[in-house]
């Protein structure tokens, strides 16, 4: 399909959409002629169609809409009162406009319809001349066709129907029409509709009162009809709006001479339109319209939400399956459960992809407006620029397609204005006279990459720095510390502009800021590469979808946070020695770059108890053109998460983009990377500093009772034996019946436990599980877990070690042995 056809199609889609709304608006306008909003809306329709049709060289349509626009503009400004006369003409012109559009759709051109009489009337009304006088009463509509205007009214609704349905609808309308006719005949004393029209010239003979009365009567009829139509529309099931994919089956036979009666509303007399559903397929020689269904985006959003819930359920199922697998290892039913879980998870993933695909649009939709833009710009700037587009068929989410247009416009304008040089400069520097801008789109993993490459003069890092200093955007000191890439990033700062003067194209220092904001909103990244004299390449990397995202889960103490994977560049494990402090900010060297660091705990006010490991995990985050290293305690893994809003009460918390529900049913917050980068600038670094509390914990033991050990065993006898063995030490002893109870006591935090004696065989929660649970929490990292059990197998011991036990005591044991083991593990100070 060539470019023109595609634009034409968009134009038709848009126009029919507008007109559909227009019908409703006009009906409303009749009852509320003073409603400025309505008028504005109608005016905009005329304006939009005029603009587009002039671009597409539909002169007749442009001519007509231009005059309509004039008239509506007057009404809009209060220079013209919309009365029935004016309304007639407006309605007539709109019907004509519809006929023209249908014709364009069917034949690809707008000739063959006479618009001049209508235009003349529009002008006449606009000039305030009484209608009846200037325009000679034309011949009434040639041959009234037995379809009521209602057909035109409900036109758009047909599109969603099958042929049978259309047939049925026609029959229904004919029946309706006949009923109406009967009613009219009754009203007119037996006159047929044709008679109504024949009778029209008679209006001139009526007295003013009579005319008024007649108008009122007609309006009443009209309103009754409208009401009937409206109720009909209401009865129809909410068929998805499918126009114009299957175009409304109305082939226009244009009115030989549009009606000119002053009083009778146009639509009271049948417009000469035919319903020919059979022609539907063959008649569309002009522009084939794609076979698609237009669905309200709200429905897709709802569907997406439901899928989101399903994904959460799936995550949860997988988690439970893992737990069950661990506990009932080797049992036969596990196989079956595994299969079901994997099928559910597979189908859920497929379903999610399928729904995501329904929301996908080719990026060509955005790209297509650029060739013209480049043509205009190159003429304006006296440059020779060529645009090469590749990958316009690459698809991405609708919401992203909508957001990406503006940034691209700004980047391309920028490339034209600042990037590509004028022909003489290009020739002088040994380049071809004409510059080239390449616009590429392609997939890269879960991202789409849009690349804009020009072969212009490139970015000069030093020049950018000095300009920024001049404008007060950065200080000289900052400039010295900046790498080349960071300097390129300066073009995104608000207020930055390299243009010596403000032109119509650029120079206000707003555009690139818009680019950055929009791309950040989409969780995208910008990467600039440039070489002086050779050109600039700008890479926009944008996630494919927004509602369900891949996230990296990180832990800090016992809290977890989800970081959108789209913003994660890499993760590195470093030793604490590699963290340097420069001007009270922590930094590290990552290959040839210096990366500033911030601890996630400082951002989210996490109380850090222990921080004595020698290593740190750094998540390198990238957003738009900036980078930062986020230090976390642990990396949990990658998970598919569904973004949930925090609601009114908690919205707008800095650094948090939303929440998600994890497989275990808990809530985890999603990090807002853009905000986090902002916050990182003001956060004081505490990296590498051990928290005071952590020191206290280890040191403040002044008497034996400060040591605290928990005994976890389901047998009262065993507990008593252990208590008796340890009592001589004088330490605090707490007993728990099983794992669950032990965990609860621990979490309550009444005691700072130094050690725990754990039986393995216990109801509710066994010793291994308890140990694994406890080790999930960073603050219990130094809690000594000692297994006391009668299980003596090697495998049991191994499991004990795996789950985090430090000692393994087999029953029976001597009290002295137990005491010694405990003393050693809680670092009991004999001197107290």
């Amino acid at each position: 399909m060539d470019e023109f056809q595609e634009i034409l199609q968009d134009f038709l889609v848009e126009s029919f959409e507008l007109i559909e709304q227009l019908d409703q608006d006009l009906v409303e306008l009749e009852s509320r002629p003073d409603d400025l909003d309505l008028l504005n809306r109608i005016f905009r329709v005329a304006h939009t169609i005029k603009g587009a049709s002039s671009f597409l060289n539909f002169d007749v349509l442009t001519h007509l809409t231009h005059h309509m626009e004039n008239l509506l503009n007057m009404a809009r400004h209060g220079d013209l009162v919309i009365d029935a006369n004016v309304m007639d003409v407006i309605l007539e012109s709109i019907d004509l406009m519809k006929a023209l559009l249908v014709r364009i759709r069917d034949s690809g051109e707008d000739s063959g319809l006479e618009v001049n009489p209508c235009v003349a009337r529009l002008d006449a009304v606009a000039n305030g001349t009484a209608l009846g006088e200037t325009v000679p009463s034309a011949t009434p509509a040639a041959a009234p066709v037995p379809e009521p205007v209602a057909a035109v009214e409900a036109e758009a609704d047909y599109s969603g129907m099958s042929e049978e349905e259309v047939e049925a609808e026609i029959e229904r309308l004919i029946a309706l029409r006949q009923a109406e006719d009967a009613a009219k005949r009754a009203a007119h004393g037996g006159q047929t509709v044709t008679a109504v029209q024949d009778e029209e010239p008679d209006y001139s003979g009526m007295s003013e009162e009579e005319v008024e009365a007649e108008i009122e009567r007609l309006i009443a009829v009209r309103q009754a009809e409208d009401a009937a139509k409206r109720s009909q529309k209401g009865h129809e099931p909410e068929a998805p709006k499918a126009e114009p994919a299957a175009p409304a089956p109305v082939a226009a036979t244009p009115p030989a001479a549009p009606k000119s009666e002053p009083a009778a509303p146009v639509r009271a007399a049948p417009a000469p339109k035919k319903v020919e559903p059979k022609d539907d397929g063959e008649n569309r020689g002009g522009s084939a319209v794609e076979q698609t269904i237009r669905v309200d985006v709200k429905r897709l959003d709802h569907l997406m939400n439901l899928i989101g819930e399903l994904v959460l359920g799936k995550n949860r199922l997988i988690k439970i399956n893992d737990d069950v697998e661990e506990r009932y290892e080797g049992e036969a039913f596990l196989e079956e459960l595994n299969q079901v879980v994997s099928i559910v998870s597979l189908v859920t993933t497929d379903l999610q992809i399928a729904v995501m695909k329904t929301r996908m649009l080719p990026i060509g939709k955005v790209f297509n407006k650029f060739p013209r833009m480049i043509r205009d710009l190159s003429r304006e700037l006296n440059k020779k620029i060529e645009l090469e587009i590749t990958g316009e068929e690459t698809e991405l989410d609708k919401s992203i397609v909508e957001e990406i247009g503006d940034p691209l416009v700004h980047i391309i304008r920028n490339s034209c204005d600042h990037g590509i040089e004028t022909p003489d400069i290009r020739l002088a520097s040994g380049k071809e006279e004409g510059g080239t801008i390449q616009l590429k789109a392609y997939h890269e993993g879960n991202h789409i990459v849009i690349q804009i490459i020009d072969d212009g003069k490139g970015l000069d890092a030093d020049m950018l720095k000095s300009k920024s200093i001049e404008k007060g955007i950065i200080t000289e000191k900052e400039a010295d510390l900046m790498s080349e890439k960071e300097a390129f990033g300066l073009i995104f700062r608000p207020g930055f502009s390299t243009a010596a003067q403000v032109t119509s194209v650029s120079g206000r220092g707003v555009g690139m800021d818009v680019v950055k904001t929009n791309i950040e909103k989409l969780n995208g990244m910008i990467d600039i590469d440039s070489e002086v004299g050779k050109g600039t390449s700008m890479k926009l990397k944008i996630p494919l979808t927004l509602a369900i995202i891949q996230a990296l889960l990180v832990g800090v103490q016992e809290e977890y946070y989800a970081i959108p994977l789209a913003s994660v560049l890499e993760t590195v494990r470093i030793s604490k020695d590699e963290i340097y402090t420069v001007e009270s900010r922590s930094v590290m060297r990552l290959r040839d770059e210096v990366l500033s660091l911030v601890h996630i705990g400082d951002i989210f006010e996490v109380e850090r108890v222990f921080d004595n490991s020698e290593h740190a995990y750094v998540v390198v985050l990238g957003l738009a053109e900036s980078k930062i290293g986020l230090i976390v305690d642990s990396l949990v893994g990658q998970e598919e998460i569904v973004i949930k809003s925090l609601g009114e009460y908690l919205k707008g918390i800095e650094g948090i983009a939303g929440a998600t529900i994890r497989g275990d049913g808990g809530v985890t917050f999603i990090v807002d990377v853009a905000a986090l980068m902002q916050m990182a600038k003001s956060v004081k670094s505490t990296v590498g500093q051990e928290s005071a509390e952590a020191k206290n914990r280890g040191g403040a033991k002044n008497s034996p009772t400060d040591y605290c050990v928990m005994i976890v065993d389901d047998s009262k006898t065993d507990r008593t034996i252990m208590r008796k063995a340890l009592e001589p030490m004088g330490i605090t002893l707490i007993e728990a019946n099983d794992g669950v109870e032990a965990l609860n006591i621990l979490k309550q935090g009444d005691h700072n436990f130094d050690g725990m004696l754990v039986d393995i065989e216990m109801p509710r929660m066994d010793g291994y599980t308890l140990a694994a649970e406890i080790k999930k929490y960073n603050k219990y990292k130094n809690l000594a877990l000692i297994a006391v059990t009668s299980r003596t197998g090697k495998a049991d011991r191994m499991r004990g070690v795996e789950s985090g036990m430090v000692e393994y005591i087999t029953k029976p044991y001597s009290p002295e042995y137990l005491m010694n083991v405990v003393k050693r593990n809680i670092k009991f100070n004999e001197g107290l």
Partner: protein, 164 residues
């Protein structure tokens, strides 16, 4: 005849509207204890009452916001009424409950020490909040008087209003 009919209709109307007035006059409340005092909220503003479940801390919020919890797929804020009222926080006990209240679209869970009972209170027994509390700022809607005690009725709208 028609006069008689009119009289009957009038009479019926009277009893009908009279009944309405009676229903109107009683408000139904759910009472609960926070600290040493008994508070109550209208029963219709309560979505549900649940036993404590785990929650996630929210950074950068006042201390009385304990965090958020997952109520069948919705993320709902959890507010500790003890610290909201400036009382010392207490460990959750067997009797601790989360009352999930709603006002329009706003929903939040509130931690209370324990529930007391559902109360039916004639409207005439509800007095205004003490004058000493500024009208705008007050979380108190009124004070219900019963034979042996006084119950503070809270403004749910105010409780659910974000004030940080």
């Amino acid at each position: 005849m028609s006069e008689k009919l009119q009289q009957i209709i009038n009479k019926q109307n009277k009893t009908l509207s009279g009944d309405d007035v009676k229903i109107d006059e009683v408000i139904q409340l759910v009472g609960f204890i926070v600290g040493d005092e008994e508070f109550s909220v209208p029963i219709l503003s309560i979505q549900e009452i649940i036993k404590p479940i785990s929650w996630t801390r929210v950074p950068q919020t006042p201390e009385y916001i304990l965090g958020v919890f997952n109520l069948r797929g919705s993320v709902i804020p959890l507010i500790d009424l003890r610290s909201r009222f400036g009382l010392e926080t207490m460990k959750h006990t067997e009797e601790t409950r989360f009352i999930v209240m709603k006002n329009g679209d706003d929903v939040a869970g509130f931690v209370i020490d324990r529930l007391t009972e559902a109360i039916r209170l004639p409207k005439k027994d509800v007095g205004p909040a003490p004058d000493t509390i500024a009208e705008e700022e007050s979380m108190i809607d009124g004070v219900g008087k019963q034979a042996d005690r006084i119950i503070t009725i809270l403004k749910v709208g105010k409780l659910l209003e974000r004030n940080f």
